[in-house]
């Protein structure tokens, strides 16, 4: 209990008659990689959006590091240490790879009401941004505009931005979505590196990646977590198999 970074308590969210998040409770330990799996439409992205603050829950609470953040808007949660990589890449088309990371560095280093100095030539922004870009393996593409990136590279950039925020908790929404086999393997290796330094909530359909990366797995079905446990427990759990793995 002492080292819980994120505590979600009885979260509810409905869209019309649809209960997208239904009495969802979850506990994430500091330093763990916690995967959330579930069939399509289980409400995974809806849940992540509520954690990030883009969506407000109808009821329930979210506590980060012992602080209730349920009422905090998304931008303030980012400052408090939540970083999200989007399932559908969300980039600025005419910003370079480095610009994106620098923007994240800029965002965490106080307000941006600085009008005179050229941001692209500010070592205080460029150096940490460069580091984040190198971490995800995009160093050779640092000056490339986002619109010219391949799909895999755009996914890597999503991660670089999140890392540049120096978050306490990383929300990764299908980081491998739409990736080929080769890129997927590279991404898994990258995530294996990152999980040493960050607490992570990982949503992913690639089961091989999930079972190799996750310390614990929660299974989300119809907006409710039906089981949480170590990968080997989840793999053999009869309820999980029935609900999700389809056996």
């Amino acid at each position: 209990m002492a080292d819980v970074i994120l505590l979600v308590d009885r979260l509810m969210k409905s869209f019309g008659g649809l209960r997208a998040t239904n009495d969802l409770s979850l506990e994430v330990q500091r330093g763990e990689c916690h995967a959330i799996i579930g069939p399509n439409g289980a409400g995974k992205t809806t849940f992540i959006s509520q954690l990030q603050g883009m969506l407000a829950p109808d009821s329930g609470t979210i506590t980060l590091n012992g602080r209730d953040i349920t009422g905090e808007p998304a931008h303030r949660r980012a400052r408090l240490g939540i970083a999200r990589s989007f399932q559908i890449t969300s980039l600025v088309p005419d910003f370079s790879v480095l610009d994106h990371a620098a923007l994240a560095v800029q965002a965490r280093s106080g307000h941006s009401f600085r009008f005179w100095k050229n941001a692209r030539r500010d070592p205080a922004l460029v150096a940490p941004a460069q580091e984040a870009v190198e971490t995800v393996g995009l160093a050779s593409r640092a000056k490339t505009l986002a619109r010219d990136l391949s799909h895999g590279e755009a996914r890597q950039l999503e991660l670089a931005i999140a890392i540049a925020q120096q978050p306490k908790l990383l929300l990764l929404d299908e980081p491998m979505a739409g990736m080929g086999r080769k890129d997927g393997v590279a991404m898994t290796e990258l995530l294996a590196q990152l999980k040493k330094d960050y607490s992570i909530i990982l949503i992913e359909h690639d089961m091989q990646a999930v079972f190799s990366l996750a310390d614990r797995i929660s299974v989300l079905v119809a907006g409710h977590i039906i089981k949480t446990g170590a990968p080997e427990v989840i793999r053999t759990d009869p309820d999980v198999r029935a609900a999700y793995l389809g056996h």
Binding site: Q52, M54, P73, A74, H75, R76, A78, R79, A83, R84, F86, S90, L91, V92, P93, D94, F95, S96, D99, H100, A102, L103, A104, Q106, A107, R108, S112, F113, R114, F115, W116, K117, N118, A119, R120, R121, D122, L125, K143, L145, I161, Q165
Partner: protein, 338 residues
């Protein structure tokens, strides 16, 4: 980082701006040379609208906010100068304040008034986006327009004539040439300021938010206050342009702040190119000169004018600046800022 190549490309970035200013600075000599002082009048108009279009582009091109109330701010700047000069001439205090014909006082007053109004207008308008932002700023523009018409004391419909002599501190700037260079200095300052702003941390937030607000929020920045600040800065610079127009032509009228004039400013910016800071200045020059030449040609000049604008915008995606850019940034190998 400071390789000679980067320094060179940094210098090259400023070439178009310097060329524009140099070309404008030369127009009075040409006017003197061929003995046609009317050219200076036109050049002054070009400079004044270049300031306004550059200011507008700060929110349109870099903030993604198409404002249709900038003619309103333009007119507010003009009316502040005109009203202060009226009170100076009639030796009648404005409430408890004495009037003045000194731009050293009138310009800061125009800045102050427009900043306060823009903060209110911006705070309300920026609650909306897209077409709604367009509509609400248009509505504000018409409020200002009819507000100016309602100023019966200051000429109402007919506009306000400035009958006193306009000065800048101890300097008499009623001289046409002197006034032109004053306006040109203001344009140079505007280009410098906006140029610094768009590449600063502030500018990066503004630009990123215009293309992808979700991303900016996700990294921890609420773009709202940045947009408001940009809106106020842009409005203030536009008001300065309006103040200069009023001082230069010794006249300001509601016509200068109609919604169609707001549209003209947007056209100038787009025509010149919203992707670069110096683009709208070229657009303003092209607009003012074309309007003049075509209207002396035919009474149906607006038809030809419209056709030309469509042709230019369609063939040069980045406006007239694209012409310049292909010339100036060739072989530079550096991506242009968007």
């Amino acid at each position: 980082m400071a390789e000679p190549a980067t320094n060179l490309s940094r210098l090259r970035e400023h070439v178009p701006t310097l060329l524009i200013l140099a070309a404008l600075a030369a127009t009075p000599m040409i006017a003197l040379g061929i003995g046609d002082p009317f050219i200076v009048k036109v050049a002054t108009r070009v400079v004044v609208f270049a300031i306004a279009a550059t200011a507008l582009n700060f929110v349109v091109g870099y903030g993604g906010l198409v404002s249709l109330c900038h003619a309103g701010f333009f007119g507010i700047g003009g009316y502040v100068v005109g009203i202060l000069a009226w009170h100076d001439f009639n030796a009648e205090p404005l409430w408890f304040l004495p009037g003045t014909s000194d731009l050293a006082i009138a310009l800061p007053a125009a800045i102050l008034v427009s900043a306060i109004i823009a903060a209110v207008v911006g705070a309300i308008s920026l609650r909306t986006s897209g077409p709604y932002f367009l509509m609400i700023t248009l509505a504000f523009n018409q409020m200002f327009y009819y507000g100016a018409i309602a100023l019966q004391k200051y000429g109402g419909d007919d506009g306000l004539q400035i009958t006193s002599t306009i000065t800048l501190g101890p300097l008499d700037v009623s001289n046409r040439y002197r006034f032109f260079y004053l306006a040109l200095v203001v344009l140079a300052l505007t280009l410098l300021l906006v140029g610094r702003f768009v590449d600063s941390r502030f500018g990066m937030v503004l630009r990123a938010a215009s293309k992808n607000e979700t991303r900016v929020i996700a990294v921890g920045v609420d773009p709202w206050l940045y947009r408001l600040a940009a809106f106020v800065i842009s409005a203030v610079l536009t008001a300065v342009a309006g103040a200069l127009l009023a001082a230069g032509q010794q006249f300001i009228s509601p016509v200068d702040m109609g919604w169609d004039r707001s549209g003209d400013l947007v056209v100038m910016a787009v025509l010149g190119g919203v992707g670069v800071v110096w683009g709208p200045a070229i657009g303003a020059a092209a607009f003012v000169v074309l309007e003049l030449v075509l209207s002396s040609w035919t009474t149906h000049w607006q038809f030809v004018f419209g056709l030309l604008i469509v042709l230019i915008v369609v063939s040069l995606r980045g406006g007239l600046a694209d012409l310049g850019r292909t010339i100036f940034s060739r072989n530079s190998g550096e991506a242009t800022h968007g």
